[in-house]
């Protein structure tokens, strides 16, 4: 579905990504783990078009997407969330959701005056869909609340919900459970599994090994900008190099 071939990225003297090869299968959850500064978020930024790569290729369904600006990659069906949650603070939860759908006729200024009927119908449909998703995420009571007033965990959920509004084929989630309380995390994990069952493809950057093992089909381990291991969560946790680089060699690393 999404494949990364020999991608390099450096910032001045720092090699942030070295010869990254990665394959994301359709309808799966792929995990990206690694110590801080190992290149996970950089890879996300390259995938979503926020950084340009120095060398290498990225394909989405056989089509080259490296070099495209972020908004075009988004429109192809790859959406991302951010590690530090960004929400338009002075907009309500429902407005946040309604921002997402592609092809909104009403986003063209002149159409606002020329075809108000078409826009109204589109809005009504989008509102219905938004309320369904908010209901799934347990945010329906907050629909008219400013998203800046939500808790960190709720904002994470909202980011995911907003991404879902656009019906993406691939969602890149940057630390979806960081700062989310345990109850909400459990709910979120259940929701992510459900998304996979409904045919979506997810790529997740995560630090929490429990989250990774309970969720991911395949895990890539990054260290110093390189992929040092690939495999199922169980294989990864037994890998000596991974234990050394990331799990810190602790005996209880996989408990």
């Amino acid at each position: 579905m999404l494949s990364v071939k020999e991608v390099y990225k450096s910032f001045d003297a720092l090699m942030a990504l070295k010869a990254i090869n990665l394959r994301v299968e359709e309808n799966s959850i792929t995990g990206l783990i690694g110590p801080d500064g190992s290149g996970k978020t950089t890879l996300f930024n390259v995938l979503s078009g926020f950084y340009s790569k120095d060398a290498g290729q990225i394909f989405f369904k056989e089509e080259r997407i490296d070099g495209l600006p972020p908004h075009e990659i988004a429109k192809k069906g790859i959406l991302r969330t951010f590690q530090i949650t960004v929400v338009p603070k002075r907009m309500t939860v429902l407005e946040n959701m309604l921002l997402a759908p592609f092809g909104q006729v009403g986003e063209k200024a002149w159409r606002v005056f020329l075809t108000p009927g078409v826009i109204r119908r589109q809005e009504e449909e989008n509102i219905k869909k938004a309320l369904r998703i908010l209901d799934d995420l347990g945010l329906e009571n907050l629909k008219d609340e400013y998203s800046g007033n939500l808790s960190g965990g709720q904002q994470k959920l909202l980011s995911l919900g907003r991404a879902l509004m656009a019906d993406p084929e691939v969602i890149l989630l940057d630390e979806p459970t960081a700062g989310v309380n345990p109850t909400l995390t459990r709910k979120l994990l259940g929701f992510l599994r459900e998304l996979r069952e409904r045919g979506r493809t997810l790529v997740i950057v995560e630090h929490d090994m429990n989250v990774i093992s309970s969720l991911c089909d395949i895990v890539y381990v990054l260290n110093n900008g390189e992929v040092i291991a690939v495999g199922s969560p169980e294989e990864i946790q037994r890998d000596k190099r991974v234990i050394e680089a990331y799990l810190g060699g602790r005996k209880d690393a996989h408990s």
Binding site: S48, L79, F82, V86, P88, A109, V112, I119
Partner: protein, 299 residues
């Protein structure tokens, strides 16, 4: 009668400045475009409309041409700069504002340079030989209401919603598939068109314009209007224009009552407005009327 005429004058000016504050509010309050050169579009509207009507064109043609040229200038300015960050963008807009004023100051062949244009025709003046200011007041109110209506519709639309997202989180907007620079250009052009409208109304009301009328301080005054009125709220923009413009005009007559020379009074007036601005920024940063929270009725 004098007091009535004075009020009519104040309300006409409030109407014209409301159009300016509504259009700047659309850029600054809604789209987050830090435009510090709004007076440029005001000047273009005023000069275009004045020059065309003085050459014999009908008023409405002058008005629409003023709006169109102001919009075009907004487009030209924002085309290469739309991808700049907010602070650099702000600098560009200050420069743009001064370029227009200096252009009219130095190109004497076009509009008499520093001497300004005199005898700008008043539309339909022959139909209202008696109470012309009342007619102009109605016209100013009509165009103010029209601007208000257009801005409200735009803000409530998905287009306005996308602009707000760009104001709040630009990176997020592009990650959600919005072409950020296109939206910014739209925001800039729409604001410019309506500033052009205000310019045309101003020129035909004053019947005299010169580069002195379009100093950077004008932009500052419009900014104060939207900060005091409430950024992001159209009613606030109008209330801000009403507050500042009536304060600005009425203090002009203070010299008749207190023994302060006119030049000191002019500085004192700006001091008062500046003081008011500081008070608001410190104690009521959201302004008199804060941005409306959009709630959706669910059927």
């Amino acid at each position: 009668m004098a007091i009535v005429n004075f009020f009519i004058h104040v309300i006409i000016m409030v109407g014209i400045y409301s159009i300016l504050s509504l259009s700047l509010n659309f850029q600054v309050g809604i789209s987050g475009l830090m435009n510090f050169g709004h007076v440029a579009y005001f000047a273009i509207g005023a000069y275009t409309s004045a020059l065309l009507t003085m050459a014999g064109c009908p008023f409405l043609l002058g008005l629409f041409s003023g709006m169109a040229l102001a919009g075009l200038f907004g487009f030209i300015i924002s085309l290469p700069t739309a991808s700049l960050k907010a602070d650099y963008w702000a600098i560009v807009t200050i420069a743009a504002g001064e370029i227009i004023r200096l252009f009219f100051l130095n190109e004497q062949w076009l509009a008499e340079g520093p001497f300004g244009l005199r005898g700008i025709p008043r539309p339909l003046a022959s139909l209202f030989p008696e109470n012309y200011p009342i007619f102009y007041l109605l016209m100013a109110m009509f165009f103010m209401a029209f601007t208000y209506f257009i801005m409200e519709v735009l803000i409530r639309s998905p287009f306005g919603r996308a602009l707000k997202m760009i104001r709040e989180e630009e990176a997020l907007a592009s990650s959600m598939g919005k072409e950020v620079h296109l939206f910014k250009i739209h925001g800039m052009v729409i604001g410019a068109i309506f500033a052009g409208l205000a310019g045309s109304l101003y020129a035909h009301y004053m019947t005299f314009i010169s580069p002195d009328h379009f100093m950077p301080i004008e932009t500052f005054l419009i900014w104060v209007m939207i900060v005091i009125g409430g950024r992001g709220n159209n009613i606030g923009a109008i209330i801000g224009a009403l507050t500042i413009e009536s304060l600005y005009i009425s203090t002009r007559f203070l010299k008749d009552y207190v023994g302060i020379p006119a030049d000191i009074l002019a500085s004192l007036r700006m001091f008062m407005i500046g003081f008011l601005l500081v008070i608001f920024i410190l104690y009521k940063p959201e302004g008199l009327v804060s941005e409306k929270r959009r709630s959706h009725k669910i059927k």
